[in-house]
């Protein structure tokens, strides 16, 4: 070690520079934390690679499962590949979002989170914001790949407005589920418990939704369950966009057991889901973040 250290480097700061605004501080720390997640992704891309391969498997394997089903079964002029694509888009985004809490949990376990918590963060919600930005970006990359692959497999390609609507729906479902997962990452004792929760949530929510089969195929009790499942509220509008060149907020999208729901209502339910989750995790985060 060099013995010549300029005392100015080491001396405590006597005069404090003028404090930038809280918003500027929040932006600075959020960008830095997001950057860290993307550097990790760039150097360890296996999560993203697997996250792209998995929906491909769903499309190809599941698509082939019902190749010989009668053409009219899923709707007029609809083959199963077309029916499946919206389900895979939503399920993939959902799984990614459900895992959002894991890196935070590992930061807790390895003590890296303490490094963030002893820093004078403008708001500790920057930790939450960074994870959310990261997960949403991943979900969008996956969605683009799935839409492209489905088009190549013959599912067709929605118009520009349709694609915009799909982006909005993916955003809404990812936001709520990411918040839920991050809340759990702060509430549960360790990663074992978090993985257990992810494990028991992931596939059951898939099968209790309209991702793989329409409501009309299901036992009455499951039909109720699927019609209450947030995933269904993301899948059905996207499916409607895929099946109908013409759509609007008043288009009847889903025949729930209690009546028809239109496009606008479906979006409103997704938004309400996000609001409820965000309110639910507030006390958890506040307890941790003081």
């Amino acid at each position: 070690m060099s013995p010549s250290i300029s005392p100015t480097t080491l001396a405590p700061k006597v005069s404090s520079t003028p404090e930038p605004g809280a918003l500027a501080e929040f932006t600075q720390e959020t960008i830095a934390l997001t950057q860290r997640l993307f550097i990790q992704l760039q150097r360890r891309p296996s999560t993203l690679v697997a996250g792209v391969i998995q929906p491909m498997m769903w499309l190809i394997l599941f698509g082939a499962l019902f190749t010989n089903a009668p053409q009219s079964l899923f709707g007029p002029d609809v083959h199963y590949g077309q029916f499946l694509a919206p389900g895979v888009i939503v399920f993939t985004a959902f799984s990614g979002a459900l895992n959002a809490g894991l890196p935070v949990m590992f930061d807790r376990e390895f003590g890296f989170l303490n490094r963030l918590l002893v820093a004078p963060l403008a708001s500790r919600y920057s930790i939450v914001a960074a994870s959310t930005i990261y997960i949403i970006t991943l979900a969008f990359i996956q969605t683009v790949v799935i839409i492209g692959a489905s088009a190549a497999l013959g599912a067709g390609l929605p118009g520009v407005v349709g694609l915009g609507a799909i982006a909005l729906i993916v955003l809404l479902i990812v936001l709520g589920v990411t918040a839920l997962s991050l809340g759990l990452a702060f509430a549960l004792p360790g990663h074992i418990e978090l993985i257990a929760v992810i494990f028991v949530t992931n596939l059951p929510l898939l099968f209790a939704s309209t991702a793989l089969a329409p409501l009309s195929f299901m036992a009455p009790w499951l039909r109720w369950l699927a019609a209450l499942n947030p995933l269904t509220y993301a899948i059905e509008p996207i499916r409607y966009i895929y099946f109908n060149a013409q759509w609007s907020l008043t288009s009847p999208v889903m025949a729930a057991p209690w009546g028809d729901l239109n496009f606008g209502v479906m979006l409103a339910v997704l938004l309400a889901f996000d609001v409820v989750v965000l309110l639910m995790i507030q006390p958890l985060l506040r307890r941790r973040f003081g």
Partner: protein, 341 residues
């Protein structure tokens, strides 16, 4: 100017475990203050309360006159924290980690760039700055963590066991750096269960045991309080027990000798406590010659901090360490460390 740290009647329990019962001490500006005690004594919990990672159950915790309980963000600005287990993101390079740290302390980019470079140079880390931290050795990790703790030029640097697990050379590098830091005007608070570390570095120290401060002062004050000088005597490299006992008997009769112990664990060497300032060595030599016993080695020393610890607790730091090790639940402690409230 207010003191750098004021801790008064701090109490903190985790469930049933009273980690800190009643701890009070003051750290003056510009000094190196040591918290000494065996593992499990409550040092880390005290530090966690000071660094706003844990909320005390009761008591006063202030940094530069600012309450860590009421104004945690103000305290975080003034304080650099180097944790016991260095948590680096192993995928990031050292420089990337420092940049992240700089942003978390809201240092403007251009200033951060310069300061990172200065600290990398000062800590001799330039060669490693662009390698991933996952490839670092323990000493380099610790130095990087020191740099991270100093980026925002804090008034107070808090280090939890700064040299635990380091080789001797790295340990001296850290010590030397902390001395330079002090010379530049930074207040340093460190915990340690190494006696020689606190002895070598600290201007003042508090000894903590069982969640309480049991002694406080400068190292020499504390040693003076224990009183007496320590003499270690070996008759032969391996002394027969009868010879050692014979010497013990004769030496005990000398007026300036307070105690004589035969240390069977160390080849029956004799440990004596004698009055300070007595001209003990020649008289011991004379006594031994008169009863026909040889001298292999004879050394006089001021009491060590271990003697201070022994006098205060009735056990040596080593014993306390071993006792703590057998009753510790490391898993539980990790769980505690994860809790932020």
């Amino acid at each position: 100017m207010t003191a750098a740290v004021v801790i008064e009647h701090l109490q903190k329990r985790y469930g049933e475990n009273p980690a800190v019962q009643d701890i009070s001490f003051i750290v003056e500006r510009g000094e190196i203050f040591g918290l000494l005690g065996p593992n499990g004594a409550g040092k880390t919990t005290t530090i966690r309360c000071l660094c706003t990672l844990a909320k005390p159950d009761s008591g006063r915790v202030e940094v530069c006159g600012i309450s860590a309980i009421q104004q945690p963000k103000q305290v975080r600005r003034r304080l650099g924290y180097v944790a016991q287990e260095v948590a680096l993101d192993k995928v990031l390079t050292g420089r990337e980690l420092l940049r992240l740290q700089a942003a978390l302390y809201h240092i403007p980019r251009a200033i951060a760039q310069d300061r990172i470079q200065e600290l990398l140079t000062a800590l001799n880390l330039t060669d490693y700055a662009d390698q991933k931290t996952g490839t670092y050795s323990g000493g380099i990790r610790r130095r990087l963590d020191l740099a991270a703790g100093l980026l925002h030029q804090p008034d107070l640097l808090v280090l939890d066991e700064p040299t635990v697990g380091l080789d001797i050379e790295s340990r001296f590098v850290v010590w030397e750096f902390l001395r330079q830091l002090k010379a530049a005007g930074t207040t340093v608070l460190l915990t340690s269960h190494y006696l020689e570390e606190v002895d070598a570095l600290a201007d003042r120290l508090a000894i903590i045991d069982g969640g309480r401060v049991i002694a406080e002062g400068t190292p020499s004050q504390l040693k003076d309080q224990v009183g007496g000088d320590r003499i270690t005597l070996r008759l032969r490299e391996f002394t027969p027990e009868e010879e050692a006992q014979k010497a013990q008997h004769s030496l005990n009769a000398l007026p300036f000798v307070e105690t004589v112990i035969v240390n069977t664990a160390q080849g029956n060497s004799l440990n004596l406590v004698v009055q300070r300032g007595s001209n003990a060595l020649p008289q011991i030599q004379e006594t031994l010659t008169s009863i026909g016993l040889p001298i292999f080695s004879l050394a006089q020393a001021r009491p060590s901090l271990d003697d201070v610890y022994l006098a205060a607790t009735g056990r040596t730091l080593m014993d306390a360490e071993l006792a703590a090790a057998s009753t510790r639940d490391l898993k539980k402690e990790q769980k505690q460390a994860m809790k932020t409230t």
